[in-house]
């Protein structure tokens, strides 16, 4: 790690640490989430290990009666740590029906992505549904993060909405086959004039303990090749459209007594005709069933799957594999601020030549404030 990075990381830690002493008279709330774990795996090339999870530093500030700001930094990495600004937004409440926020958020895709973010103790299991993995570092296939504006509100007793306009996504096709390709999004610039548009409408039933959401996002994935390199598709220059993508889906939540269900279904329409490809469709889903056995102990089972056509250029670029996962977890909430979770996550690849594997994790997650 070079000295500039060391100083930057130290400055961020000092900033958050210093806030602890100066915040008491202000409406600033500060917190940190992290986790430690023991991992046992039979994945090819992987060894069992002790591991620390990401250190998630977040703070929220009530700017005034109607305005709130939120920031979240995450330290994460293996051999060296990377500092990522995951969320940064400011939101003003105009009415119950209209709040407007600007900044960097989690996309309005489904329920899980908008609720659990990066905090290990917040989400019910150790792992996210695999197709909801984050774009950076985890080869995620969906734009989990977005930079732009989000409007949201409660329309009436049953309906609420989120509507967003944000930067488009990009892929550097020149590194396909050379390095790991990641779906990127610009924090301070956009590679294209085409913007991502999203809408999520949620219905909260008055008569049944269930909530249903439907969502759609139009997203352009454009070329991010730098000058002088050779893009995968002829002379497509930086900002040229690779895939015109429409993501649509439904999320469903149901709770009855000690049982709860969370399910999400995604359809990805990836139109790559502009680069000589096809207009392909892919689907992904997860179904999660939970049982609160005691006040502190919860049993969770989840099935997840991703299917796409072999001709889908989007997944070719990302190097994604079709797969199905089965996850079983036992979560024990020691108290409101720390939890133990034992998770068994088995991966079954659809494509021949890939070894299926299982990861067993004992995770201890905690919240500091």
């Amino acid at each position: 790690m070079n000295m500039t990075k060391r100083y930057t990381y130290a400055l961020v830690v000092m900033l958050f640490g210093g806030m602890l002493h100066s915040i008491q008279a202000q409406a600033l709330e500060f917190g940190a989430i992290s986790n430690v774990k023991v991992i046992s795996t039979d994945a090819p090339g992987e060894s069992s290990a002790f591991a620390i999870g990401a250190l998630d530093l977040f703070a929220t500030h009530k700017v005034n009666e109607n305005t709130v700001a939120f920031i979240e930094y995450v330290f994460e990495g293996d051999e060296s740590f990377v500092l990522d600004l995951e969320r940064l937004w400011i939101k003003r409440t105009f009415s119950d029906a209209f709040e407007l926020a600007g900044g960097r958020f989690h996309s309005s895709l489904g329920y899980w992505n908008r609720t659990y973010h990066h905090g290990a103790i917040i989400q019910p299991t150790v792992s996210r549904p695999f197709f909801l993995d984050f774009e950076d570092g985890d080869a995620g296939i969906l734009p989990a993060h977005t930079i732009g504006f989000i409007a949201n509100g409660q329309l009436n007793d049953n309906f609420s909405y989120e509507a967003s306009i944000a930067n488009s996504s990009f892929i550097d096709s020149t590194i396909v086959g050379v390095d790991k390709v990641e779906l990127g999004i610009g924090n301070a610039s956009d590679r294209s004039d085409d913007k991502s548009i999203g809408l999520h409408v949620t219905y909260d039933s008055s008569s049944l303990p269930m909530t249903v959401g439907v969502f759609i996002m139009q997203n352009s994935i454009v070329e991010n090749a730098t000058t002088g390199t050779t893009p995968a598709f002829g002379s497509l220059s930086k900002g040229g459209e690779l895939v015109d993508q429409i993501i649509s889906g439904i999320d469903f939540r149901y709770q009855h007594g000690d049982f709860d269900v969370l399910a999400e279904y995604y359809n990805l329409d990836n139109d790559a005709t502009s680069v000589g490809g096809k207009d392909d469709s892919a689907s992904a889903y997860f179904f999660q069933f939970g049982y609160q056995a005691t006040e502190q102990l919860k049993v969770i089972y989840r099935n997840e799957a991703l299917d796409f056509e072999a001709t889908d250029i989007y997944f070719q670029l990302l190097g994604t594999q079709e797969a199905e996962h089965n996850v079983i977890a036992l979560r024990y909430d020691i108290d409101d601020a720390n939890a133990l979770t034992l998770e068994i996550n088995s991966t079954d690849f659809e494509t021949a030549g890939n070894d299926d594997f299982t990861i067993t994790t004992l995770d201890w997650s905690f919240l500091l404030f």
Binding site: G31, H106, T115, S206, F369
Partner: protein
């Protein structure tokens, strides 16, 4: 001397009665109050808990609810947290921090006195708060009493 002793006994008795009186006043219990226009007459304590922990955003009759707390550490707030929410200050802190982290909840608002809570509740239908039962008057309606 007898008069002095008698006066002293009276003073002691008066002091004791005052203390009991103060104690009785402090133990008047809590009342969960709502706007007089709300078409709801009572709430169970578990329903109150659900509202003040943001597990529900509606009254049982479907009306949207907005709740207000009293200043952290005040006797009324302490009693409410202990008897209704069944959480310590630290537990509430971590509970709300997790909710705020999701981006789906705002830290609940706080007012400094029973009078401020009554005024706030009386200003709009759907609002709910808690006060010392001794402060209840006809500007608000009582949905639940916590002895």
């Amino acid at each position: 001397m007898l008069r002095t002793i008698s006066n002293n006994k009276m003073g002691v008795l008066l002091f004791v009665f005052c203390m009991f009186g103060v104690q009785a006043f402090a133990n008047a219990g809590l009342s969960v109050i709502a706007n007089n226009q709300l078409s709801l007459e009572s709430l169970e304590i578990r329903q109150v808990r659900g509202i003040f922990l943001a597990k529900t955003n509606k009254f049982p009759n479907g009306v949207f609810v907005k709740f207000i707390n009293q200043t952290e550490g005040s006797p009324v707030a302490n009693e409410f947290d202990k008897k209704v929410l069944r959480k310590t200050v630290a537990q509430l802190k971590s509970y709300w921090m997790k909710l705020v982290y999701t981006g789906r909840a705002r830290l609940p608002g706080k007012l400094a006195s029973d009078a401020e809570v009554k005024k706030w509740v009386a200003a709009a239908v759907g609002r709910i708060g808690y006060i010392d039962s001794a402060s209840v008057d006809n500007t608000v309606k009582v949905l639940a009493v916590i002895p």
